[in-house]
Symmetry: D2
Subunit: 414 residues, 4 copies
């Protein structure tokens, strides 16, 4: 029996496009103002898991920009035109209420591109340890004030410059010992992850940033008996790749080259115009073709900031392949989607599934959530049910379905 | 132990584009003139099944056009430019040898469009029974002359006008009793299937025509202890649909409309310009979206004959879908493939897999071959391992993989 | 000197998408609520012609549907999302004012598809003469009530079934004599044209319907000393054709086939789902390629109603061409435009240019407006400055520019 | 009267793809083995100019690679599959004959990317003066040996790193004085141009390299009474831009962004993978949008080397524009063309037109050839008929047509 049902969603980058769209959707679902299109926990078998009801979810978050969540949500009406004005007006009050729960994030080692966005008087954290302590205080206060059963911290902030996890100390004890050093290279996403784990929260990394990927932080999650998952929500072009590449492999067609050009104009795009940040993203998008095909075709991935497109991402992919007798053929696709609209339901599904997983006793990396991510986390060395995560989307989805079915069965017989 | 290893491939429409490409490929593989790109029985696990070697396959077939296989194969050099001249010249002699084994097909109830193509002095069969007897004689002679262990009859001829199988007698005894009637509505594809079954051959229907689909012919196959599979090779746009539609379903995205325009200029295209024949094809292409999505979006499928394109089929699909908060987005793709090049490896794989299936004792409808077909045959009422065939390509492919793995294991322990 | 400056715009189909968008734009321009993007009479040299100011234009019109212009304009906010709610609210009052000037149109020989739309209690006109008389009364009342200097009647109603103009009497006297016959085949578009001419109004046919095309009505226009122009606004795919085809011609590239598929879901689309109406439209779209290229490539034009697209028309064109040494190449384009948004500025430009033409003394067919139309009217047999209208868009536009420059020069020296 | 009719074509980069395709075409036309598709001097009015017959053209050239023209031409059969083997075999002998007339080019200041291609033992020219002298000797020998009336030197070699012409001495006397300096920055394309002018040849720059663009070389051309034209053949994506951008301008539609991605895999692509060389090319492709539209939209042009595509260039362009009431719409196109096939007829037309121009007494920059080039040369300061070259393709083509008509008229009355 679940006594205290209230679940916290703590969004890192809570005033950004993905977060504000997620929150608008959640508030709309709470008030029956919109059908839950795009939400898989509304359909079988996932709806039968011990997921929280929309009304049980409470939102807070960290942010580095001064703007209000109300104003950002209004941009969905006026800029990307994804939200009707009537719906926005109906949600103005609960949005303002969430604004009251937003805390100042950290810029420790965030990189120049992100730092330039910060127009709120965010505290300068001298060390990673300082930042973690401050963030952890915010998370504890949220949990206490709102009397929460669980909290899921979910990173939907801008992509950071890449930090190589193999350069970090391999164990938590060793990493912890360096947190007070001036040159500790942990980026904000990892700071939020550590603070989450230390305060008993689960952590989901929806971005390609480092987050909880390093061995030492994975160890901390298990020590703290919390869950985590990531990296990089699989929303558009990469989703298409993980769906189409298996088709070529299963027909033994020889993919010679796969070119993908992405253009869009939201704040993510601005941040990705910085080469350091873009490298993190492109790497996340580019690797899976070789994994699926079993050989590496020539690939090219570009991500370019085109202001006029706003949040509407257009991806053109050209796939050049050889078939029988060496004949060359091609497939092109143009994907025209709104990034935030594609990401927001995944955010809410991840919150619900992570809540259910923890209720079912899961601990550590939730490898069965791989279908949600471009670069899914490999299973924990011990205790995982999988030995490795297959890259095709359908196989990842089947793993999710099988996990859900198993948990539902066991839940029913508990 | 397999004593007599020679396997016959008997192609209905043996001088057409798919057949001539398949034969050129087979002859090239026999002489190591081309890598077997597109052939899945060359890769694990399928390569471990008891499949015939390329050198064990012997080709013959029925045809209604006077042209020679040599001349048709040369068109692959000069028209579609899919075959190099050097390769063609190296195969001229064995192609001519096959020409010597080609018999005259039947025009019984073939429809006007196909009848117009017939410039060979094909015998006029007064009844279906006459046609079946004549075709069966040809098949028996082929098997005896070539001393074959098994023969696979595979229909790669033009699409016929549709015949509704529910209008036919439900049992073989009832159907057999009508074969001598002047108005027996069986089309050529079914006549070839019956003749195949009666002479102990397996039958594969690579076209959307009726073939062995009717209950009565399914019964005959089981009586004769032979195998059959079909319908309509899944080569291009429909393959894409069966790969992409599950993505939308698994993300709970609402597909509002799916428009597919196909243009091409080969002989199939000419035949499909006849509305009666086109209806057979469009129906085969259009149904699976509702099956996969669980609801019927607005769909439109056109197939148009554009002479200049020859065998190079271009398909443009526009998918209009709604996501989170009802926002509308779109996916377009353009598929530019050579129909014969895409079909030919499936023909050879089907021949090999059917041979292996029969060697492993399979009888009746080979439901595990569903991934090869646009409209896969449902399992036989009794004896099948499946209760029904799922429409997503990945699930169909998994069924094939699991069947293969099981048979390989059992074969090894036999 | 222009004493009375007020100019009437009388829209046939005034509550339709093109009309309501045009009216919203006009009202917005009058109030400086929007920049005049897409309006060429705002830029040199056309802005220097004696065109009316936005504030001098007064709107009325005929309609067969009961809905209000206010409600139809609101659909631009909620359905096609082309108009912001704030702008709509600011225009609600003047829109309602126009609603007060809307008269009931005629269904005489309108065809079944259009008749089905008519939910207003439109009078049944027994003969074309009755209809003309009634329409003319409405036009006279409008001119008198509003004290207008000139009125431009502009047909933006749904496409009618085609009427062959060569089957009509060749002179006005002969045609007039048949107007009272029960079987006079004149469609509504011609009835409105005749009523316009008889009451001294100019007439612009923005649709592919017959309108003023017939010789007899052309004669009437000249007798009445009024202007007219048409047919079928060139807004999207055909505009592209008239721009791209000259490129191929000027490079002596051999266009082998040109396929154009159009999908959209507005009311026009519904009407065009009726084959009689669609034939009128397709003919208008298809002819110009042969005219531009000097030979007829294989062409295919489809227009299909896809409900989910609403007013957003998507056209995919595939052009297959041969170049040097016979090598085949291709160009594809996808045009995604909102039909009403593309049409509305042309409507307002045509009104302004026709007003200026008449002020400059032009009479009869305004052949220099060819660049606005898919099927531009040929010059009048006598008195025209052109012998014929060239089909390339750039040459048509140059004719317009030269006319404007000449008139501006002469106007300045008058 | 034209006594000696033989005309020389001297190709810089004579073994490259554009040159070998041009030569194969020319030889095929001389033998009536192919229709002259893509050649505008075969159609009116250009065919009426005093152009040379195919049989009067004699080919030679400079090259830095060891391969033979015969072998390069065979690649058109086996790689890009643009030439039939039968045609190639019929031309093998005359191709070998041309191989005998090919001289070693210069690598003076060619840049590293081009130098890497040079596997022939090309002489190292110590100064630009040395290179010019050597090249000029080759040109003189060609003219004498072949007894030529005129010779056109045409640069179809790989793109060089950019040299800013405004950094060069402004007059020929000043420039000439620096040619012996070790650090004279003239690139090979300018060396060939100067050698051409000094030996009485015309010069055409089909590449984006500097060539004859600088003021000092323009002056030399006039002094020597020869003709020249350039830069950068307008074959594909840029041709499309110069055709489509005027459409937006003439409809007063607001182009917000224009993204163009080009992928291809020929030797040009390899050279352009060097950033120094690519910059020269991208600049040439990118400027004209602002020139045509009158304002600068956001633009992005990429050119990427994708090996599998060979000479088949695929360009995807996405144009995002605003229309009436600010509504945003888009146009995408995919251009799939073979670069050499598109370029070769322009090369032959330029040779013929330049020959005719010189026969008609033209001297200096042939500004009326602008429609052939991405970055057409501005008219000479004195003596030109134009004050400037308009960027829309149709206006450029009209200039060409008017020039031709005028010369034909005057020729006929001479």
């Amino acid at each position: 029996m679940i006594e205290n049902k209230r679940i916290g969603i703590w969004l890192i980058g809570v005033k950004g496009g993905v977060a504000s769209t997620s929150v608008v959707g959640l508030l709309a679902f709470q008030r029956q103002l919109s059908d839950p299109i795009g939400i898989i926990t509304e359909i079988s078998p996932f709806s039968e898991l011990p997921i929280p009801a929309w009304g049980d979810l409470v939102v807070g978050g960290h942010e580095i920009r001064r703007t209000s969540l109300v104003d950002e949500a209004e941009l969905l009406v006026t800029e990307s035109r994804t939200v009707e004005r009537d719906m926005f007006e109906a949600l103005r009050e609960p949005l303002a209420e969430i604004d009251g729960r937003i805390c100042k994030g950290t810029l420790y080692r965030s990189g120049d591109a992100i730092r330039e966005l910060a127009d709120w008087d965010v505290p300068e954290d001298a060390t990673a340890a300082d930042a973690i302590a401050r963030i952890a205080d915010d998370l504890r206060a949220f949990q206490e004030n709102e009397n929460l059963d669980q909290t899921i911290v979910i990173n939907v902030s801008s992509t950071e410059p890449w930090v190589d996890p193999t350069c970090l100390p391999a164990t938590w004890d060793e990493l912890e010992a360096t947190l007070g050093d001036k040159d500790c290279p942990l980026p904000p996403s990892s700071i939020y992850a550590i603070a989450a784990f230390q305060t008993g929260c689960s952590f989901i990394n929806f971005t390609p940033s480092l987050g909880s990927l390093a061995e030492a932080t994975r160890e901390l999650a298990i020590r703290q008996q919390v869950c985590h998952a990531g990296r990089d929500g699989k929303t558009g072009e990469t989703l298409m790749k993980s769906v189409l590449a298996p088709m070529f492999a299963r027909r033994n067609l020889d993919v010679m080259s796969w070119v993908g050009h992405n253009i869009f104009g939201n704040m993510d795009g601005q941040i990705l115009d910085d080469p350091a940040n873009k490298a993190t993203k492109v790497t996340s998008k580019d690797r899976l073709l070789g994994d699926i095909l079993g050989y590496q075709p020539q690939t090219l991935v570009t991500i370019e900031y085109i202001k006029s497109l706003g949040d509407w991402k257009t991806a053109w992919d050209h796939i050049h392949f050889r078939g029988f007798l060496g004949a060359t053929m091609s497939l092109q696709f143009t994907w025209q989607g709104c990034d935030s609209i594609l990401a927001a339901p995944l955010v809410l599904d991840l919150v619900r599934l992570t809540t259910a997983a923890r209720r079912r006793g899961c601990v550590g990396a939730l490898d069965f959530l791989a279908s949600f991510f471009k670069s899914p986390m490999e299973p924990d060395a011990t205790g995982g049910t999988l030995s490795t995560v297959p890259p095709p989307f359908d196989e990842q989805f089947q793993i999710l379905t099988e996990w859900a079915s198993r948990e539902i069965n066991e839940n029913n017989t508990d």
